[in-house]
């Protein structure tokens, strides 16, 4: 058990290292660096940039060192919580980001919660009432949910909110709380505004989850122990909860590994469309202006969120599934 956990933890570290290298390569990919873009911008405005000043800035930002060294400076900074320096804002990334990271985490967590809470009863209903009208209707809805990309759903929501309510749903809190320190009222306001983006991001994940839970539970329901239980005279509800549901729950938890990258991706684009104060819009801006340290930090943060989330789901699964505890391997 401990052995398994240790190995799993090592994998997480290794994964994060590889991802950081990948992100750093991406940061370095665009031809030229931020300074050359910055210079071009200044020159287009008719300002003259002295070579001395450029050289000074280059040294200040460590752009004159070899790539490997830059990478190590960046990674050690990351570990110490220093996310680098945003050239665009002329501020350390940590200050630019503010509570966007926290809001991103809240948004993603709420979405996962939403997916579980909604898909669980529907999935169980669909499986126990297979081929009923309710099952068909829900399956059709699920297909539509899978096929409608979440940013289009966000656009549709924005459109209806604009046409019928004359308001914008593209916020995460009431305006008065913007840039305010955290307080109970602010948190309540966030919770009140959270449901629209959570619904938009969660739809496709929920649809997928319902389909998988339904399939898993249907498989279990056909097994012999269910027939035995029924023959013994167990009441239907008790039988369902006691055996097959528990078996079908394992893939339900294990699936977080597939779902989390999806949700994080979805939250990025939906936030960008609805201009929520999370990492999404800022990542987009940073990428467009090739402010690569800021962008890199965001991608790194999102990857971290996913990898840690999957790690936690693995821990949960160990607690749920004795086979993993005994053999030390996850069976998916």
């Amino acid at each position: 058990m401990l052995n398994y956990l240790a190995r799993r933890f090592l994998t997480v570290i290794l994964t994060l290292l590889v991802i950081s290298a990948l992100v750093f390569v991406i940061i370095q990919l665009p031809p030229g660096d931020f300074l050359s873009t910055y210079m071009a911008e200044l020159e287009s405005q008719g300002e003259i940039v002295s070579p001395d000043k450029i050289e000074h800035m280059r040294r200040q930002y460590g752009l004159d060192k070899p790539l490997i060294e830059q990478y190590f400076v960046w990674v050690t900074g990351l570990i110490q919580g220093d996310l680098g320096f945003s050239f665009e804002y002329n501020l350390p990334v940590t200050e630019v980001v503010g509570d966007r990271l926290l809001l991103s985490m809240v948004l993603n967590f709420a979405t996962i919660l939403f997916i579980y809470v909604v898909s669980f009863p529907i999935g169980v209903y669909s499986a126990t009432h297979q081929y009923s009208w309710g099952d068909y209707g829900l399956t059709l809805l699920g297909f539509l949910g899978l096929a409608t990309p979440n940013f289009l759903l966000a656009l549709i929501m924005l459109y209806f909110a604009n046409v019928y309510f004359g308001t914008s749903v593209g916020t995460l809190m009431d305006d008065v709380y913007l840039n305010q320190p955290w307080s109970i009222d602010k948190a309540i306001s966030v919770v009140e505004h959270l449901w629209v983006p959570v619904f938009v991001i969660g739809t496709s994940g929920t649809a997928g989850m319902i389909r998988r839970l339904r399939a898993n539970l249907l498989d279990e329901l056909q097994k012999q122990y269910v027939i035995t239980g029924r023959a013994k005279g167990l009441p239907a509800g008790r039988l369902l909860v006691k055996y097959p549901l528990r078996m079908a729950l394992n893939p339900f938890v294990a699936d977080i590994g597939n779902m989390l990258p999806q949700v994080v991706s979805g939250s990025v684009i939906v936030s960008a469309v609805m201009s929520l104060p999370t990492t999404g819009p800022m990542l987009l801006e940073a990428l467009k202006s090739q402010d690569m340290y800021l962008a890199g930090s965001f991608v790194m943060f999102l990857a971290l969120l996913t990898v840690i989330g999957i790690f936690i789901s693995d821990l949960l699964l160990t607690a749920l599934d004795p086979r993993i505890r005994m053999h030390g391997t996850a069976q998916r």
């Binding site: 991802i19 297909f143 990542l283």
Partner: protein
């Protein structure tokens, strides 16, 4: 024994194969190739067949887009900016005149500066067929002017309205379909080749190759796709021409999609390489490439094609999302995502809702690929009954 049995002897010559003999239909059934059986099973899946037909029609349409579209991709109608969709009518004042549209009269609403068009019911504009319209270069090969449908002389034909620059949405949608559908197809080919090669090597050789590939797949799958796509496409040089960007985006989409396929190939090959016929091929001196490609892959090719079909939608959606965010394709290359960038301004959409129309083909295509893929997957399963 009260009633005696009559002693009966059949006089017909004995045929030892009588029981095994097959009627011609049975013979056809049992001798059918794997692909033919798959086709039979697919045919029973009504939704999948309809989805397949829709997709085939879409792919056929992109071959002759120039001919189908009433206008050119870029032709602007400055006096019809943000014109609403013109409804098709058949009867005018109770009399059949064939498909026609009513002309539009334009007025600027001075209160909210909205462009208001009202159909003029006296002005019937009958649609012409196989007629001369905007000049185009067919696939850049030869020039032509013939279109399937054209507006009446001096009239307009905006079946789906026009955009900010007065360009016909219907024509633009047709042209955008060409790009979006190609992205999906080219992307999946790249990912298919990568998946088969990498997954095949991992499954066939096992050992350290397998471990390395497994780790890479794990890492790639735990990454949130979209931010990575965004970062990579933002890293494409700004100086690239739109066509190069198009290729770059397709390659990016294909390069990050292979892990799913590679995983499937690997797990199948791990089991199949232990089969006797594989050992036999090895003993006869076949090279790994031949064993994998000739003897092992055909075992589950149908299954692979089904999973590939199921992952085309994610490519199309990925491209749409990237272009929509302004990180993907750029005009003049037009895809559904590029068209949707017009819908980013929600105030404009509230006034002119037909800007949201490019969503429709995206959803239809994604649904189509999902249904067809599901049907193919069921059909490729050799254990379902016929």
């Amino acid at each position: 024994m009260s009633n005696d049995l009559v002693h009966y002897v059949s006089q017909a010559p004995f045929d030892p194969t009588a029981i095994e003999a097959l009627t011609p239909e049975q013979e056809q059934f049992y001798m059918a190739s794997q692909w033919r059986m798959m086709w039979w099973r697919l045919k029973r899946h009504r939704v999948a067949v309809i989805a397949g037909i829709v997709l085939i029609l879409s792919y056929c349409s992109i071959i002759v887009t120039e001919f189908l579209a009433p206008y050119d991709l870029h032709s602007r109608h400055t006096e019809h900016i943000y014109a609403p969709p013109q409804g098709l009518h058949l009867f005018h004042e109770g009399r059949f005149v064939g498909p026609f549209v009513y002309g539009l009269t334009y007025r600027l609403d001075m209160e909210n500066l909205k462009r208001v068009y009202t159909p003029d019911t006296r002005d019937t504009q009958v649609i012409r067929y196989f007629c001369d319209g905007d000049e185009y270069e067919f696939w850049g090969l030869f020039k032509g002017r013939t279109h399937l449908v054209c507006p009446a002389r001096g009239g307009t034909l905006f079946l789906l309205g026009t955009d900010r620059l007065g360009r016909d949405m219907a024509s633009r949608l047709l042209y955008a379909g060409r790009i979006s559908l190609t992205v999906g197809l080219v992307g999946i080919i790249i990912s298919f080749i990568l998946g088969i090669t990498i997954g095949g090597m991992a499954g066939y050789f096992g050992g350290w190759v397998d471990s390395v590939v497994q780790r890479v797949i794990e890492i790639l799958r735990s990454l949130p796709e979209l931010p990575l796509w965004m970062a990579l496409s933002a890293a494409l040089p700004v100086t690239w021409s739109p066509i190069l960007v198009f290729l770059g985006i397709t390659v990016i989409l294909g390069f990050l999609d292979w892990p799913g396929l590679a995983r499937a190939v690997r797990s199948k090959l791990l089991a199949l390489r232990e089969e006797d016929y594989c050992t036999a091929a090895k003993l006869m001196g076949a090279r790994p490439g031949r064993i994998i490609g000739r003897h092992l892959l055909p075992n589950f090719m149908s299954h692979l094609i089904a999973s590939a079909t199921l992952s085309i939608p994610s490519m199309i959606l990925g491209e749409t999302a990237l272009s929509f965010l302004g990180l993907g394709l750029r005009p003049p290359v037009t895809s559904f995502g590029v068209l949707l960038t017009e819908a980013q301004n929600i105030e404009a959409v509230a006034l002119y809702p037909w800007l949201l129309l490019p969503m429709l083909p995206v959803v239809v295509l994604v649904l189509g690929f999902n249904f067809l893929g599901d049907g193919l997957r069921d059909a490729a399963d050799p254990y379902t009954d016929l």
